[in-house]
């Protein structure tokens, strides 16, 4: 019997972008509301998992030629580098600071160095989770 999953693949093409948007919203709403780097990384990983479900690993790897082990390692590096960066300014390890600028469209906006740290956390989480899922699935 020929297997036909046109509906699943067409829905996936749209839904993946909605999930990516939710992940970015959770990442940006980070330190004042529920959300942050870890949750955002998990949602990104679930979006990749949905892609791997609807298609197969070879197609997705050809379409997104990213080695997720490199992503996880660079995320861990960003986390440690953000912690060590505060040492250069004579503060404690992992010390964080923030400032506010007035942007033309957004008004008064708060910029924090926690965002760099959260970027590292999100990259590490998405890299590790996708690597685990792929290595489990290729084992069979």
């Amino acid at each position: 019997m020929r297997i036909n999953d046109v509906i699943l693949q067409s829905v996936t093409k749209v839904v993946v972008f909605i999930i990516f948007t939710l992940a970015i919203y959770l990442f940006v709403s980070g330190h004042n509301n529920p959300g942050g780097g870890f949750v955002s990384g998990l949602i990104l990983a679930s979006a990749f998992c949905l892609l791997f479900l609807a298609y197969d690993t070879e197609t997705i790897r050809k379409g997104i030629p990213i080695d997720f082990k490199v992503i996880a390692a660079s995320g861990a590096f960003i986390v440690v580098a953000c912690g060590l960066g505060s040492v250069l300014f004579g503060e404690a390890f992992l010390y964080q600071t923030f400032t506010t600028y007035t942007l033309p469209l957004f008004g008064e906006t708060e910029f924090a160095t926690v965002t760099i740290f959260e970027t590292g956390v999100a990259l590490a989480v998405v890299g590790v989770v996708v690597t685990i899922i792929l290595s489990i699935s290729e084992d069979v």
Binding site: L50, L53, V140
Partner: protein, 94 residues
């Protein structure tokens, strides 16, 4: 008045989740247990929306979205497991 209605409906959601949990414990086949887990997820989303009305907060809305996405993906994964036997394939058969 509204609070009473909301509390009563929360209690009923708790009863529904408890009944579904017996299906997870008893369930004759594997599919019964997975479907029961999915039903619990949907009930949790509804109960969480009632909790967010009760507490008058927006903090639970993100949790509801994430739970809905995870329930969607788990449903797809299980139906693909039933149909093909493998969840993530190396090369799909055309």
């Amino acid at each position: 008045m509204t609070t009473t209605i909301l509390v009563i409906s929360l209690t009923l959601f708790g009863v529904a989740i408890a009944i579904t949990f017996t299906r997870i414990l008893l369930g004759p086949t594997f599919s019964d247990r997975v479907i029961a887990m999915d039903v619990i997820g949907v009930n949790l989303i509804s109960a969480m929306s009632i909790v967010s009305i009760l507490y008058e907060t927006k903090a639970f809305l993100d949790v509801m979205l994430i739970l809905a996405i995870l329930a969607f993906i788990s449903t797809i994964a299980f139906s693909k497991f039933l149909e093909r036997g493998a969840i993530i394939e190396r090369k799909r058969k055309l």
